[in-house]
Amino acid sequence: MIFSAEEAVSAVRDGDTVLVGGFGMAGMPVELIDALIEHGAGDLTIVSNNAGNGDTGLAALLAAGRVRKVVCSFPRQTDSWVFDGLYRAGQIELEVVPQGNLAERLRAAGAGIGAFFSPTGVGTPLAEGKESRVIDGREYLLEYPIRGDVALIRAHVADRMGNLVYRKTARNFGPVMATAAAVTIAQVARIVDVGQLDPEVIVTPAIYVNRLVQV
């Protein structure tokens, strides 16, 4: 269960879809991403809320040329120059997904839902090509799950089984991404013995977590 960052990310293969937690830098598993850059896997599809900030974390992975496609809600920020440059140069694909649909599509993948109807995006350019249906007088769009080969998330404390608790708004996408990937790798600030976490406060049960890295 407990790995070094290098060993943990060796699960990532060329061409994989990798779910990356975080909202901006809050909850971003920077050390796991650094290890992934070292590991060298490429042709990746990255699913994350943003497309990298500054020059570290996800931005560094993009700068290293390892990413074929980004699926995110908000790639355009004042400090997203790495993504901006690649996108304008036609060197990266982008799928923009409304933030709530992104979260729910990940949740659906983890919960075994085949697809779902969402009211978000009806009447907008993002509805193009999507099946729509009127249910009880309201229009909805059919949305499909987003499944990852690997999820890289950051939590606060884990026990040795892999039960996780998070800290404040750094929780964001971590719990849903943990459920949506074949292999979930969590970096945490601290690992405690089994029994040290109050079962009532565990947010991500260990069943969803495959590898732990303490940083």
Binding site: A26, G27, Q99, L102, V122, N172
Partner: protein, 213 residues
């Protein structure tokens, strides 16, 4: 006199019901928090997973794990709760949020909202949570200047920019007037430093003047 941004924020704050659960969009809507009375019982939601958000954090309070949707450091109030992103948007989509306040490029008389893209061919598309908020909150209020920098009205018969949501806006707060919008069209609620006739003339479309005007 037209209203300052601060005065606009004060007017919006006045119209938020006591005890409401409210999401303030990034930018100008954030200023509304400064004018909420402490005893109003209004609870702020931030879509990155928190209810009970407090004021911006300063000095030692700054915690990189505690930010608002604009990724600025904030504080937590007693009674705050954290939750993951799917829950955060479920409470929005599920109709539990009373009011959402957003900026806009354009709003139509019918309440269509355009606030995520100007449709410029070289722009990088980025929508964030705007589409989810637009259709999720029970009421969507827009705060914006009524006229763009080039003088064109931003309250329009039909949005020409790509839509964020259809028929979702109920109230539009601007620097020169407050409007209600919806299936029956745009109605002037209040004007600031301009007469209703001047306003109708400058906006260039039919506006119903409220009987209290």
């Amino acid at each position: 006199m037209s209203l300052s941004r601060e005065q606009m924020a004060e007017i919006v704050a006045r119209d938020i019901p006591e005890g409401a659960y409210v999401n303030l969009g990034i930018g100008q809507p954030t200023m509304v928090a400064d004018y909420l009375r402490p005893d109003s019982g209004v609870v702020l939601h931030t879509e990155n997973g928190m209810l009970g958000m407090g004021r911006p954090a300063t000095g030692d309070e700054i915690d990189p794990d505690l930010t608002n949707a604009g990724k600025q450091p904030v504080t937590e109030l007693p009674g705050a709760a954290y939750f993951h992103h799917a829950d955060s948007f479920a409470m929005m989509r599920g109709g539990h949020l009373d009011v959402c306040i957003m900026g806009a490029f354009q709003v139509s008389a019918r309440g269509d909202l355009a606030n995520w893209s100007t449709g410029a061919p070289d722009a990088i598309p980025a929508v964030g949570g705007a589409m989810d908020l637009a259709i999720g909150a029970k009421q969507v209020f827009v705060m914006m200047s009524l006229f763009a920098k080039d003088g064109r009205p931003k309250l329009v018969p039909e949005c020409t920019y790509p839509l964020t949501g259809r028929g979702c806006v109920s109230r539009v707060y601007t620097d020169v007037a407050t409007f209600s919008v919806g299936p029956d069209g745009a109605r002037i609620i209040e004007t600031f430093g301009i007469t209703a006739d001047e306003l109708i003339n400058r906006v260039g479309m039919p506006l119903v003047s409220s009987p209290f005007d």
